[in-house]
């Protein structure tokens, strides 16, 4: 099934006309439908703040040609109602705006073979552009593990953590999606041309901004809400106090997605933002890829192994036996009565315990009493 052609054209025109992520506009379109909004605008009617001077510009847009040109660049336009439309994005309709950005996008411009309705099982990995080698190594590792478990790794193709997340997923032969702030036919940052072109060839590059659109500061904020909305959960790997990754984290929280944070040294500036998220209880601390998978999965799926220290022979002893063992001298042998005095336990019980310990090889019996066995010193 796909959306009616007239609706698609209307949405393409509005995508070109309006700044992505402007909540006011998107809400109207969501309520009235794109076609009605277009018609109303063209009729130069005043609707809820959409100024009539925009009508002039709208009249100048040829949506059919837009779509044709986009198709020539390998870019398709996916709108609500299409089979490919990721319905999770509809959650944006109810979410509170962040910095006046918000709303369900009029459509998404997509380049690449990966279909957006196939990315229901997905995770976003985001973080600072000014990351450390620790952050990028962790991002690569987590992305690899998530990708091997069949998750699509979504990120923003930026320097630092973003590129590491994509690379980790690709190296693990998994799938990855880049959501860009510029048009899906463009490349930003230029240094990641090879990476983004590869994603467009074998995975998908997605943008709310129509082709040829420039990556402006505002569009990064609008873009971040899509990264959070497209995925089940967001992992923040390294984010300094004012990082854009925190904006994505904020969105994940508003959209009731799972928000996860990877800790770093408390002295590390690039981890400050993550630590704050964890400290206020917004994000769950994760330290391995499998912990991420556990949080993303259905209940009972991907359960992570609980952490345990290595078990030691002492762990198997009863409390009484441990108490006795503590009182057994290391080198010089001591009689059972002296051990009983030192441990504060009755003599009968002590000698029972000592014989049990002897069977387990924890103590040795010599001519004049008991002492620890050589390997039980630690």
């Amino acid at each position: 099934m796909s959306a009616p052609e007239a609706e698609r054209l209307a949405r393409a025109a509005l995508s070109r006309l309006l700044e992505p992520g402007t909540l006011k506009h998107l809400r109207v379109i969501d309520q009235l439908g794109a076609q009605t909004v277009c018609e109303a605008l063209l009729a130069e009617r005043e609707i809820d703040g959409l100024r009539t001077d925009v009508a002039e510009r709208l009249a100048g847009i040829d949506p059919a040609r837009e779509l044709e040109e986009a198709a020539r660049k390998g870019v398709r336009f996916v709108v609500p109602g299409d089979d490919e439309w990721p319905v999770v994005l509809d959650d944006l309709a109810g979410a509170e705006p962040v910095q006046e950005r918000g709303g369900v996008p009029v459509g998404l411009w997509v380049r690449g073979p990966l279909r957006l309705d196939e990315i229901a099982r997905s995770v976003a990995l985001v973080g600072s552009r000014s990351a450390t080698t620790y952050g990028t190594a962790i991002a690569r590792e987590f992305a690899g593990e998530a990708a091997r478990a069949g998750q699509v790794v979504v990120s923003g193709a930026a320097y630092g953590v973003d590129q590491a997340a994509h690379r980790g997923a690709i190296a693990a032969e998994g799938r990855s999606v880049a959501v860009l702030a510029c048009g899906a036919d463009r490349v930003y940052p230029e240094g990641h041309r090879d990476l983004i072109e590869h994603l467009a060839e074998e995975h998908a590059v997605v943008s709310e901004t129509p082709p040829a659109g420039a990556p402006t500061r505002l569009r990064f904020l609008s873009r971040n809400r899509l990264i959070a909305a497209l995925t089940r959960g967001t992992v923040v790997v390294e984010a300094a106090a004012r990082s854009g990754a925190l904006n994505t984290a904020n969105w994940a929280g508003r959209l009731n997605r799972v928000l996860m944070g990877v800790p770093g040294p408390v002295t590390s500036a690039p981890s400050q933002g993550v630590h704050e998220l964890i400290r206020v209880g917004a994000a769950t601390l994760v330290t391995t890829g499998s912990e991420v998978l556990e949080l993303l999965g259905e209940s009972g799926e991907h359960l992570a192994e609980p952490r345990r220290g290595r078990s030691r022979p002492r762990d198997r002893l009863s409390v009484r036996q441990q108490q006795v063992l503590d009182a057994v001298p290391v080198h010089q042998e001591a009689g059972a009565d002296s051990i009983a005095r030192a441990s504060g336990i009755g003599l009968m019980e002590v000698s029972t315990a000592l014989h049990a310990l002897l069977r387990q090889g924890m103590v040795e019996q010599g001519g004049s009493g008991w002492r620890l066995a050589a390997h039980a010193h630690t």
């Binding site: 450390t132 320097y159 590491a164 690379r167 690709i170 983004i196 590869h198």
Partner: protein, 529 residues
């Protein structure tokens, strides 16, 4: 005339002394006395010289008393290269040669009983010392003429036998003689280690981006480096590739290094000047003498000196004997080795990069990451091992890196842009050129060797950067020595980035390099995409 003087040299470490061999031939009790503190091998020169002269069909003053003085007489003299000078001075004193023909020349060579000349170690440093004292003419065994000719402005006369030398001095036609045997001992095995290393390239390694950068910084500024990491994480692979990113030696370094190798007798005829930085990787059983220099007789340069201007790689560093580790302290700091003996003290240059590699624990499997830790060692064992690493030697190492093996997906990362050794080398060369310009007229060439007071006074960091370093010192992250190293590292980081003065970012990077902390990805040469 019953008296003549020939000149030769005596080596004490890399210092050469000009020695006068004075011979008096006069009536008296028949025999030859050699005075002036000769050692055993030199005492044997009496017999070698006599037989060489007789077998060269020259006249040995057999009916006279011959006195040979090696002056200055208080200097201990060792080696066999005095033979030629003794022989010609005896001949001149006996009237077989005009005494004036010996003037202005220096004679180096060992004699055989049939009058042939043999090669001797240390020709290059001897000729260098002679040149420094104004000598312009030198007689050496033929295979070593090339080595001697490396000294500019020197007239080198390569000879095969005593008879040839005498003919040359008399101004007669030089007779034929059988070719001189090269230095005793030859390579029985064609060892191809050096060739294998030349084929190694940085582009072969995947991942390890912070270690690669650390190695680049170390190479650019001549900094000592410690690589710590579990078995198989790539420590040796990356260390072996360091010579490949070092630029060719400067003319000065090349002469110094060739002189050291000549002293060690490690120079093959036909090797010429050593132009590439040396690599030396002694096993951890190495003795103090083999590493630092020494030996029973003359002081021979150790591995540390033979790696001068190159790389000394000490793998499994904590397994070296503790006295060896302790002895490294002074050379790491000063760039020279001093071997003190009962009656002499010899100083050799040792200004190479020292690369230490260590496992995190005796079994080599420990990692701080609880997921991948497979260490079987007991806690006290690990502590003992760590103590060897973190001692005073570690404080003298500029850069610390924890090498972590890349996981299996690292191999498939097609966007891991891996610079080749040639690319890295060109950046290192550019950074070294900046240092050369900055330190023109100073006694050091590289940032690692710049004295901290000079840096603080003449080449300070920006105020914010200095504040950052002060803060790290105040917090106890850096020792005073560590702070000085951070200053030097900051300059190298700036030199690699082509900056005129290190700022906050460079200081941050230097602190992270010093402490083994993760590095800011943005500051690394761009590898992604």
């Amino acid at each position: 005339m019953p008296f003549a003087t020939a000149r030769t040299l005596s080596l004490h470490g890399a210092v050469g002394h000009l020695v006068d061999v004075q011979t008096d031939v006069s009536p008296g009790q028949v025999g030859l006395t050699l005075v002036g503190r000769p050692d055993v091998s030199l005492n044997e020169a009496r017999d070698r010289c006599r037989m060489a002269i007789v077998n060269s069909r020259l006249q040995w003053p057999a009916t006279r008393r011959i006195t040979v003085l090696l002056s200055p007489a208080d200097l201990v003299k060792r080696g066999t290269h005095f033979d030629l000078a003794i022989a010609v001075s005896v001949l001149a004193a006996a009237g077989e040669l005009p005494a004036s023909s010996l003037e202005g020349g220096v004679f180096i060579g060992e004699l055989t009983l049939d009058g042939g000349l043999r090669s001797v170690p240390g020709v290059l440093p001897m000729v260098l010392a002679a040149a420094a004292r104004g000598v312009r003419r030198v007689f050496v065994p033929e295979p070593q003429a090339q080595e001697a000719a490396m000294v500019p402005g020197m007239e080198v006369i390569g000879m095969r036998s005593l008879a040839q030398v005498v003919a040359e001095l008399r101004g007669e036609e030089v007779p034929e003689a059988p070719p001189v045997a090269p230095m005793s001992g030859s390579r029985l095995l064609a060892w191809r280690g050096a060739e294998r290393r030349e084929e190694l390239d940085m582009a072969d390694l995947f991942g390890l981006e912070d270690t690669r950068y650390a190695v680049e910084v170390a190479a650019a500024g001549g900094h000592h480096l410690m690589l710590s990491g579990p078995k198989g994480s790539g420590k040796t692979s990356i260390a072996e590739r360091i010579p490949g990113i070092l630029p060719d030696l400067t003319a000065e370094e090349s002469l110094e290094l060739t002189a050291i190798h000549s002293l060690a007798g490690a120079l093959e005829p036909g090797d010429g000047l050593l132009l590439r930085p040396p690599w030396s990787a002694p096993h951890h059983d190495a003795s103090k003498a083999s590493l630092l220099g020494g030996g029973n007789n003359a002081v021979r340069p150790g591995e540390l000196s033979r790696a001068h201007a190159g790389v000394l790689f000490l793998d499994e560093f904590p397994l070296f004997r503790s006295d060896v580790i302790e002895a490294l302290r002074q050379p790491l700091e000063s760039g020279e080795v001093t071997v003190a003996r009962r009656d002499e003290s010899v100083t050799l240059p040792a200004r190479g990069m020292v690369v230490l590699a260590c496992n995190p624990c005796p079994c080599g499997n420990y990692t701080a990451n609880p997921r991948s830790n497979q260490c079987q060692c007991r806690e006290p064992q690990r502590r003992d091992y760590q103590r060897k690493i973190t001692g005073p030697v570690a404080d003298r190492v500029d850069i610390l890196r924890h090498v972590v093996a890349e996981d299996r997906s690292g191999r498939n990362d097609r966007f891991d842009h891996r610079d080749s050794s040639a690319e890295v080398r060109s950046r290192v060369e550019a950074a070294r050129r900046r240092q050369e310009l900055r330190y023109a007229g100073c006694s050091w060439r590289l940032n690692a060797h710049a004295p901290a007071p000079a840096l603080r006074e003449r080449w300070p960091l920006t105020p914010e950067a200095e504040e950052r370093v002060d803060m790290a010192t105040w917090r106890g992250e850096l020792t005073q020595r560590g702070a000085a190293r951070v200053l030097r590292l900051s300059w190298t980081v700036a030199d690699l980035a082509g900056l005129d003065r290190p700022g906050l970012a460079e200081a941050e990077m230097a602190v992270a390099l010093r402490l083994g902390a993760p590095l800011m990805v943005q500051a690394l040469p761009r590898r992604a995409g």
